[in-house]
């Protein structure tokens, strides 16, 4: 089954029509989605600004990561769940949409980068803020901002 066939099959399921038929589901799910985005941005902003050496230089990076990384994972789980509801409700609008797939690629990159480069920060080590680490912090922030841009463009593509 190709993507178009899959979208049509998904569109025809009872869950999909239930999401569309209850007018309040999509706005409420989207609002929860944006709230979770705010949690990701808040967590990322403080963590990355600390790593970039902009705020709280006397606080240990390990402590900052311990406070905010768990919130990041929780928010990403909520984003995945609410995102799935939106896909099931309107499969064609999302699955055959270029900004949607760019967004997914960026999200996977962001999650893998967080696992590979931010999770290790939870272990207490003596870290000096090197130049590359500071640059990486700005790249991580830009990545999450790019995800938001792609997300909003889903509504305008097709």
């Amino acid at each position: 089954m190709d993507m178009h066939g899959f979208s049509e099959w998904l569109y025809g399921t009872g869950v999909s029509s239930a999401i569309r038929d209850n007018f309040w589901v999509v706005p409420v799910v989207q609002s929860i989605h944006i709230t979770a985005i705010a949690v990701v941005i808040g967590s990322a902003l403080v963590t990355e600004l600390r790593i970039a050496g902009v705020i709280a230089p006397e606080e240990n990076i390990c402590v900052v990561a311990q406070r905010y990384l768990p919130w990041m994972w929780r928010a990403l789980a909520v984003l995945l769940a609410t995102g799935l509801v939106m896909i099931v409700g309107e499969p064609e609008r999302t699955l055959s949409n270029v900004p949607f797939w760019i967004k997914m690629a960026l999200v996977v990159t962001g999650v893998l980068a967080s696992i590979g480069l931010r999770k290790p920060l939870l272990t207490p080590l003596d870290r000096s803020s090197t130049g590359p680490a500071r640059s990486l912090a700005w790249i991580m922030l830009s990545l999450w901002v790019a995800v938001i841009f792609c997300g909003r463009w889903i509504a305008y593509s097709n």
């Binding site: 999509v26 706005p27 409420v28 989207q30 609002s31 944006i34 709230t35 985005i37 705010a38 949690v39 990701v40 941005i41 808040g42 967590s43 902003l45 403080v46 600004l49 600390r50 705020i55 709280a56 606080e59 402590v63 900052v64 406070r67 905010y68 901002v145 938001i148 841009f149 997300g151 909003r152 463009w153 509504a155 305008y156």
Partner: protein, 163 residues
């Protein structure tokens, strides 16, 4: 010049016409608006949760607020600028939308809540800051702020479905 003619005038300015008729201007402003709102609510939530007793990266409330508030204000200025440009692109419709009106009222309520916090319990922050759990008044301010900003997000999203 009454309100409605002012709104019509706004929507017919060259800037407003460029936003409403260009292919990319409106979506791009929305992107900036969402990023800015995420930064406003994300950073305020960290302070609100600290006021409710959750730990942040700073032990004390005063240091946390001094770390974070400049970014909250910067993001709010950006959200307001992008939001105003979105507004003028279709001023009469936004102005007459109940969800939009309510959203502005809730933002004013959040501002009043913040003002009360800063003029009362935050004035005596040295008495609790990093030594004692936040006093009841600080907890109330934190919970109120959290509830109001979540309402702002819900109402903002709702505007897009009712306009």
């Amino acid at each position: 010049m009454n309100l409605d003619s002012t709104l019509d005038y706004l929507a017919n300015t060259p800037l407003a016409m460029a936003i409403s008729q260009g292919a990319a201007a409106f979506p791009m402003l929305e992107c900036i608006h969402v990023v800015a709102i995420a930064a406003v609510v994300g950073t305020i939530t960290i302070v609100d949760l600290r006021l409710l007793g959750y730990r942040s990266h700073r032990r004390g409330v005063r240091q946390l607020i001094e770390d974070i508030l400049p970014y909250t204000w910067g993001a709010f200025a950006l959200a307001l600028t992008a939001g105003s440009l979105l507004f003028i692109s279709n001023a009469p419709k936004y102005a007459h939308n109940a969800q939009f009106q309510l959203k502005l009222l809730v933002i004013v309520a959040a501002a009043i809540n913040m003002g009360i916090f800063h003029l009362t319990v935050y004035r005596r922050v040295e008495e609790w800051d990093d030594r004692l759990p936040p006093p009841a008044a600080a907890r109330v301010a934190g919970a109120t702020s959290l509830a109001l900003w979540l309402t702002v997000i819900f109402l903002g999203r709702w505007v897009g479905f009712t306009l």
